[in-house]
């Protein structure tokens, strides 16, 4: 046996693009054919002249035998006595093949067994699709081969169903992505199995009663197959065994083609081919879904009602109605992705092709510095934004929009922990942020600008291609900032949003670094983090970015342990941020004008207001000199903001809250600060549920003048409130339990009162009145609402000092009554 054994395992060769691997694979199959029939003639057939046939199945049957892969051999026996009685001969035969270096994977079956559906052993059924007679009892084999096509045709559904199930399980095992840093070229999505799957599905689908088809693969799949097959061939010869994992070492060796090696470029070629293979497999799966389920067919009709003038929905996929419009109106592409983001419906293959074919037009359009942020924000803040971004990535539109992201396409950064390429990591991070569980999910609901958050995630690692250049662990941050900044200016994102994105990118590792290396029970550590973060809104966004980033490294990184560490840090910093209000005041303001207004305000004021806003406040303060008060009301994106500057007086805050309540407004957020001069700067962000201000411009004026008069004491706010609708009594199933907490430690000068209650119009007025009527003076206020929950923090003094225990319980009673009106 040795002569043929020598040629059996070829020596390792450089991975070249020119060798035709199919010939090598077929040659090897022929060699093995010879060895098998020689061994069978010598050891098997002399004593078993009939009732036994040798059949090649699986890869061997296809004549695609890789140097060290298993040889799938079927011993077809007429009945079960033959294998029992001829066991010694069969063992000797197999032993002979093993000794010659063949890894035989044999199965012994009767024709009946081969013509049955095996739910638990789909591999057996599928391997028979590639059957090829080798030697032995021909008539016996004919029994199987004649009946086999009809068997397939009659059991088509079951066979396809099982194969689909197997494939989906395999895909899930590999996290449904082909962007693995060390892929298994056989099993990973986009590998050889995916290509075989496509072929098998076609065979099953097209089988008729008389024969199995041998479908021709389309060109692009043939190319992918050649590439992957050559790759597997090279891996086998390199390692001398059935090694299919494209390890980092293997990548290095294979990329070295004698002209120096560019591993990254070489891997990009791999991903290109894997993408084609995976897409074909996914399309095959989709086709199966579409054809197999009656229920699905009904469901399909319901979703197509989402069709609109630009797009139609058919079979759960969205299509362009007039794709040629992309030429004249490239923003149609953006509207398409908004549709996807809104409804969660995937692109049809047609739409994908149409977009891909017009990429240069789109790129041309996007290259002109246009104001694209509003349209993009629409996409990025919707429920299904992650799906939309992924579609944009797949079609190439994302790179047309942001050429700065091309540097991370299929970028491999080799690292023990990271499972994915950098662009896949980014997409996974975005998905994780959107589907964060429990408490983190609540944070997402509270973040005011989701689109901004998503944009920051999109660019947070964009500079990773340059991390060699910059020093240290955080080397990529600067480069990511630059890439992000360039992209933001390209789409004309407004400055405040740009600031937030830059902040998030610059600090996206702050929290995980603190978790790892600082003592979370140490007040100084928390204080430092709070200083770096600045405001609660930024803290929430940053926490989400951190959560998303960590859990996108690989599926097992975000352990409950790590998740609770992060949450612990978040809570501690949150407390610190809401607590330092009354402590840290601006001492010497380096302002040209306006120093008088700003000195004595909490340091937080500088952090939460831009230069423009501060200038506006200063102007307002000047106005207030004349009449003792100045009120400004203007509209925000989806709410209104009232700012008032005046001298401090008792009950002021309550009265202002009451004024807004009297006009039917719903207060969402509020801040009340006082400075060294005894001036008060109150800001209310409120919603106008009945759109009164929008529809009646004169109401805006009336609100403003009323507010001024109430502040100056010329109007009693209780008169205003007499006519407001009575608050609805709280339902039996109170969704939010009222919680009132007094904290004497938070501040050196005041008592902190934190109230969580079910939100309702007029709540703030009632609470503030309760405090005032109990003799309390409100120093600082921080109001927030979260869905139907109001979270109000007051810093209160009585007679200039903290509250006594008795005063606390009396005030607590009043507050409780205020929360739950009779």
């Amino acid at each position: 046996m040795s002569p043929s054994g020598q040629h059996l395992h070829p020596a390792p060769q450089p991975f070249t693009a020119t060798s035709d691997v199919l010939i090598s694979l077929a040659e090897r199959a022929n060699q093995v054919d010879q060895m098998v029939s020689q061994a069978a003639d010598a050891l098997l057939f002399p004593t078993i002249p009939d009732g036994l046939a040798l059949v090649a199945v699986g890869g061997y049957g296809r004549r695609q035998l890789f140097p060290f892969s298993d040889v799938d051999l079927l011993l077809l026996c007429e009945n079960e006595t033959i294998p029992r009685e001829r066991k010694p001969e069969i063992s000797a035969f197999l032993q002979r093949l093993w000794d010659a270096g063949l890894r035989v994977s044999q199965s012994v079956r009767t024709p009946e067994e081969c013509l049955a559906v095996h739910e638990q052993n789909t591999e057996l059924n599928i391997s028979l699709l590639d059957q090829r007679f080798l030697a032995g009892d021909r008539p016996l084999y004919a029994k199987l081969s004649k009946k086999f096509p009809r068997f397939v045709q009659s059991n088509r559904d079951a066979l396809m169903r099982n194969l689909v199930r197997l494939t989906r399980e395999r895909h899930t095992k590999y996290a449904d992505t082909f962007y693995h840093l060390e892929p298994n070229v056989k099993e990973t999505p986009g590998g050889l199995r995916d290509l075989q799957f496509v072929r098998w599905m076609e065979q099953l689908r097209d089988a008729d009663a008389t024969r199995l088809t041998s479908p021709e693969a389309p060109d692009e799949l043939r190319e992918a197959f050649r590439f992957l097959a050559r790759l597997r061939f090279a891996l086998h010869t390199q390692s001398g065994r059935d090694q299919n994992l494209l390890t980092f070492d293997a990548q290095d060796a294979l990329a070295d083609n004698g002209e120096g090696k560019d591993v990254a470029a070489w891997m990009r070629e791999y991903y290109r081919q894997a993408r084609a293979a995976n897409r074909a497999a996914l399309r095959s799966l989709e086709l199966w879904d579409a054809q197999s389920s009656a229920l699905f067919a009904q469901f399909v009709g319901w979703r197509s009602r989402l069709s609109n003038a630009d797009f139609s929905v058919h079979r759960e996929r969205v299509h362009f109605r007039s794709p040629h419009q992309l030429e004249s109106d490239p923003e149609l592409a953006l509207r398409l992705f908004e549709f996807v983001a809104r409804h969660g419906i995937r692109l049809s293959n047609e739409a994908v092709n149409q977009l891909e074919s017009r990429l240069s037009r789109l790129r041309e359009y996007f290259d002109e510095n246009r104001s694209l942020w509003p349209a993009l924000n629409q996409i990025l803040s919707q429920t299904h934004a992650p799906l939309a971004v992924r579609s944009m990535h797949e079609t190439g539109v994302l790179f047309a929009l942001f050429p700065g992201l091309e540097q991370i396409e299929c970028l491999v950064v080799r690292d023990f922990f990271h499972r994915y390429t950098v662009d896949e990591h980014t997409l996974v991070a975005i998905q994780n942020a959107w589907s964060a569980p429990s408490s983190y999910g609540e944070l997402l609901r509270e973040v005011p600008q989701k689109g901004v958050l998503l944009f920051a995630l999109l660019f947070h690692d964009s500079g990773k291609a340059h991390s060699e250049a910059a020093a240290g662990y955080a080397g990529h941050v600067e480069a990511s900032l630059q890439a992000g900044d360039a992209a933001m200016r390209r789409i004309r994102m407004p400055a405040p949003e740009r600031d937030t994105v830059s902040f998030l990118i610059r600090n996206h590792m702050e929290l995980s670094s603190a978790m790892r290396s600082r003592d979370l029970a140490d007040p100084k550590a928390i204080h430092d983090v709070a200083q770096a973060v600045g405001t609660e809104d930024r803290l929430k966004a940053l926490t989400l970015v951190t959560y998303a980033d960590i859990s996108a490294v690989n599926p097992s990184v975000m352990t409950p342990w790590r998740s609770s560490q992060l949450w612990r840090l978040y809570m501690a910093v949150y407390r610190e941020l809401t607590r330092e209000l009354s402590e840290e005041r601006i001492a010497d303001a380096a302002f040209e004008s306006g120093a008088e207004l700003v000195e004595g305000l909490p340091v937080r004021y500088l952090r939460t207001h831009s230069q423009e806003e501060i200038a506006e406040h200063v102007a307002l303060a000047v106005k207030s000199e004349a009449r003792g008060v100045a009120v400004d009301i203007h509209s925000l994106e989806s709410a209104w903001q009232l700012t008032a500057i005046t001298g401090d007086r008792p009950g002021l805050f309550a009265r202002m809250a009451g004024t807004l309540a009297g006009f039917g407004m719903n207060i969402l957020r509020a801040e009340a600060f006082s400075n060294r001069r005894g001036q008060v700067l109150d800001t209310f962000v409120f919603a106008d549920p009945t759109r009164t201000l929008e529809l009646n411009p004169s109401e805006l004026d009336r609100l403003r003048t009323t507010a001024e008069r109430v502040i100056l004491g010329k109007l009693d706010v209780r008169d205003l409130l007499k006519n407001r609708p009575k608050p609805k009594p709280l339902s039996r199933k109170v969704r939010v339990r009222t919680a009132i907490r007094f904290d004497d430690e938070a501040s050196t000068t005041a008592t902190l009162i934190e109230i969580v209650a079910e939100d309702r119009p007029g709540l703030l007025y009632d609470l503030a009145s309760a405090i005032s009527s109990s003799g309390g003076n409100i120093e600082v206020v921080l109001i927030d609402t979260q869905a139907n929950r109001a979270i109000d923090v007051f810093y209160v003094t009585v007679g200039g000092r903290k509250l006594t225990v008795d005063e606390q319980s009396a005030m607590g009673e009043e507050l409780r009554k205020a929360c739950t009106p009779a």
């Binding site: 978790m515 290396s517 979370l520 790590r562 339990r737 919680a739 934190e754 109230i755 979260q786 979270i791």
Partner: protein, 112 residues
């Protein structure tokens, strides 16, 4: 041979690892664990809801050394991990009956 199990504060892990490597202890096993000592933990309030934190995240470092090195190793860990505050952690020393290298079946202290 003795196994030294140290439960330490997570932020002290890098320091402890470096200190052990500096005295020539190369092999170690690290796990993320949760627990508490006699001072159980505390209540935290967030947004009106109480969170009882009684299982605090810690890190467990396990090393196996020859009998002669136990004192040196425990002293090293203590110095690296100590902050002086509650929550610093504890070290336990256990007997090891046998050590085997899986790759080649070597046994005994030479395996460490």
């Amino acid at each position: 041979m003795k196994k030294i199990e140290a439960i330490i504060q997570p932020f002290k892990l890098d320091e402890v690892k470096e200190a052990l490597q500096a005295i020539g202890v190369e092999g170690m096993t690290i796990s993320e664990v949760r627990g508490h000592g006699r001072q159980k933990g505390h209540k935290e309030v967030y947004r009106g809801q109480e969170y009882t934190v009684d299982l605090l995240p810690k890190v467990k470092v396990e090393v196996v050394v020859g009998d002669g090195r136990v004192d040196e190793v425990t002293r090293t860990i203590v110095e690296a991990a100590r902050t002086g505050k509650i929550g610093d952690g504890k070290i336990f020393v256990l007997d090891v009956i046998e050590a085997i290298r899986i790759r080649n079946d070597d046994r005994g202290e030479s395996v460490l």
